[in-house]
């Protein structure tokens, strides 16, 4: 057959791709030990960021200046984090920095948020749902229809009949156009759940890059241009109805800005930028743990973590901390054994693709030596051109190439 050798190469290359995924995954499962970043929290008592890592020290934690505190003081030194435990033990202080410590208030001011790059880089809902923002009954409920943003209108589709609600669609489209919304919408972001304290609807980015607030109040549209695009070019928004109604959600700017969209005194909107380093939403994870006085923001990726203690009212930075990623057993093994690791999935991306998760120049040099050994070994067992191809694949991929070769037919008469 004419294409025999070409087919052999295709089988070899595809098998190598498969082994470059599965063998490292197996080895990782065998040797991987948790080497994630520690929990960080800005202490209202110490006025400093604390590193809480009980893997490192079983009975103690420390602040970023290196002072070590016993675990028994964990609750009392971090009262705004552990207020529930303190209240249970009867040790909750009366006030901190002049603010009365009331469990209800503390709970309503608590902010917990985690962002992953895959929140953005994964399939997004094609439709949205506008709940009634002022429900007659106390709890939120689904309205019975879902909306889509067409090229020139906002269309509501009734779920029971699977048909367009013309009157409602026209009413919302007209209101959007009246307020200066330019179709087609670039994106719309909401928090479509009934398990939240209240409803703020959706933030829609129009064709001009203006961010509009859209919600349904008493069955009628409420549309307002937030005007935040004058402050920042909007890249992504995350709607979060927080208990104390201070802000609408988290906003990511085109130039790596991270902040919140607050409601200001006269019912308008204001972007408050967090005093943190620029964020790359393709690879940075973010966690935000806030309380009534301070927010702790961690921005981390596979290389390092930056942590910030922010003043809750202004989001200005009070303390910062930088930590490089610890090199664990798995990283050392991968650096020596695997020149490349491929995977169809990525921790930072929800879409399936061909991701190169790791590249090591040192392992690549070793695999060239391995390739020479393989060539010497198979030279007499295979035809010359095949030996050369197999050696080239091993030189590029190392041990995974050798395993792929083992799986392939090896008959010298072929």
């Amino acid at each position: 057959m004419r294409f025999k050798n070409i087919i052999y190469v295709i089988i070899l290359v595809l098998t190598t791709i498969i082994t470059s995924r599965s063998i490292p995954a197996l080895v990782k499962k065998i040797v991987y030990e948790s080497n994630g970043y520690p929990l960080m929290y800005y202490s209202s008592r110490l006025k400093e960021l604390c590193i809480i890592d009980f893997r490192e020290m079983k009975d103690a934690f420390r602040d970023v200046k290196g002072n070590v505190y016993p675990r028994s003081q964990y609750d009392s030194l971090l009262p705004l984090m552990n207020y529930r435990q303190l209240a249970m033990d009867g040790n909750l202080p009366d006030s901190i920095e002049g603010h009365a410590m009331d469990v209800k208030v503390l709970r309503s001011k608590q902010v917990v948020y985690r962002f992953r790059p895959s929140d953005v880089y994964s399939p997004q809902p094609k439709m949205g749902v506008l709940l009634e923002a002022m429900p007659k009954r106390g709890s939120l409920s689904l309205p019975g229809d879902y909306f889509r943003m067409n090229d020139s209108e906002m269309v509501f589709v009734d779920a029971e009949t699977n048909s367009v609600k013309n009157a409602k669609s026209k009413m919302f489209t007209a209101e959007l156009q009246k307020k200066g919304f330019e179709f087609p919408a670039k994106a719309f972001w909401g928090n479509p759940t009934v398990r939240k304290p209240y409803e703020e609807g959706y933030f829609c980015l129009d064709n001009n890059g203006e961010l509009f607030h859209v919600k349904m109040v008493n069955g009628r549209p409420f549309v307002k241009n937030t005007g935040v695009s004058k402050q920042v070019a909007v890249k992504w928004f995350v709607m979060r109805e927080v208990s104390d109604k201070r802000f609408y959600g988290y906003l990511f700017g085109q130039n790596g800005e991270l902040g919140i969209v607050e409601s200001n005194e006269d019912g308008g909107y204001r972007f408050v930028k967090m005093d943190v380093r620029p964020v790359d939403i393709t690879k940075d994870d973010i966690t935000i743990m806030g309380n009534m006085l301070y927010w702790t923001v961690r921005i981390y990726n596979s290389e390092a973590m930056d942590c910030y203690g922010l003043r809750s009212s202004t989001l200005e930075s009070l303390s910062t901390y930088h930590q490089e990623k610890e090199i664990g057993t798995w990283d050392r093994v991968a650096d020596v054994v695997f020149p490349v690791i491929l995977s169809p999935s990525s921790p930072d991306n929800g879409y399936v693709g061909c991701y190169v998760l790791h590249f090591s120049a040192f392992a690549w040099i070793l695999s060239v030596i391995l390739a020479l050994l393989v060539f010497v070994f198979i030279r007499k067992r295979l035809a010359l051109h095949r030996s050369l191809i197999v050696s080239a694949v091993v030189a590029l991929t190392g041990i995974t190439g050798v395993i792929a070769f083992v799986l392939l037919p090896k008959n010298r008469f072929e």
């Binding site: 057959m1 004419r2 294409f3 025999k4 087919i7 052999y8 295709i10 089988i11 595809l14 098998t15 498969i18 082994t19 995924r21 599965s22 994964s122 399939p123 809902p125 094609k126 439709m127 749902v129 689904l142 309205p143 019975g144 229809d145 879902y146 889509r148 589709v157 779920a159 029971e160 699977n162 479509p192 169809p344 999935s345 929800g350 879409y351 399936v352 693709g353 061909c354 799986l407 392939l408 037919p409 008959n411 008469f413 072929e414």
Partner: protein, 224 residues
């Protein structure tokens, strides 16, 4: 041309019952999915059912994830195992045409039949599901089916590769490689996650077509 007509007739005689069974199964699962959704709508209200599809990535028919790939694998077994018992494939390969053309004809027959079945199933499901769910959900369903359909077609080719392979040791290795390649199509079952991976699915599909030729060469050379 008559030779290929005759060859297709031979394949048809071997597989017609299986094709009928697969057709009935696909139709039954499609209709069952429809019934299941209308039942859910009556029990939980349409608005809650829609919520699951739009925001939680609920599958319109998760049974298809098993049925489609298994039907492809079974088709290859039905078509190629009889060829391998008593080495009947040898007779086919001695027909007055190149072995590449003969094997291509056999494989393309299988791919064609499976593709027609899957295509008809997707169209049928889009129509019946489109009556009760919005076009966005129908679009998500089609995109979710794409990797499964690729797995059905590629599973057919890889199984043919395994069946035609003459040596048992190599057959096991072929199975390992096939499972590895097919597993790429089941990394995520969330709808639309494969929308940027069309080239990868095409690569797996094309490789499933060319791999059997290599086993065929080994078969012809009489490797045991």
């Amino acid at each position: 041309m008559n030779l290929f007509k005759a060859l297709s007739y031979k394949e048809w005689m071997k597989t017609r019952k299986f094709i009928l069974v697969t057709f009935v199964l696909l139709a039954a699962v499609a209709v069952y999915s429809y019934i299941d959704i209308t039942y859910a709508i009556r029990m939980e209200e349409a608005v809650n059912v829609w919520y699951g599809f739009i925001f939680q990535g609920v599958s319109v028919s998760s049974l298809m994830m098993y049925l489609i790939p298994l039907s492809g694998i079974s088709m290859a077994i039905i078509q190629f195992v009889p060829e391998m018992t008593n080495k009947r494939l040898k007779l086919t390969l001695h027909l007055p045409a190149g072995e590449t053309r003969l094997v291509s004809a056999m494989l393309l027959y299988g791919y064609g039949v499976l593709f027609a079945l899957y295509f008809a199933c997707v169209i049928f499901m889009s129509v019946i599901i489109g009556m009760i769910l919005p076009s966005e959900v129908v679009g998500m369903m089609v995109l979710q089916f794409l990797p499964w359909i690729t797995a059905g077609l590629a599973g057919y080719g890889f199984t043919a590769w395994i069946c035609v392979e003459p040596s048992w040791k190599q057959r096991i290795f072929n199975m390992l490689i096939s499972v590895g390649l097919l597993s790429v199509l089941f990394v995520s079952i969330y709808p639309e996650t494969y929308s940027d991976f069309g080239w990868g699915m095409l690569l797996v599909l094309v490789s499933s077509f060319v791999f059997p030729f290599y086993s065929c060469v080994r078969f012809k050379q009489g490797i045991q």
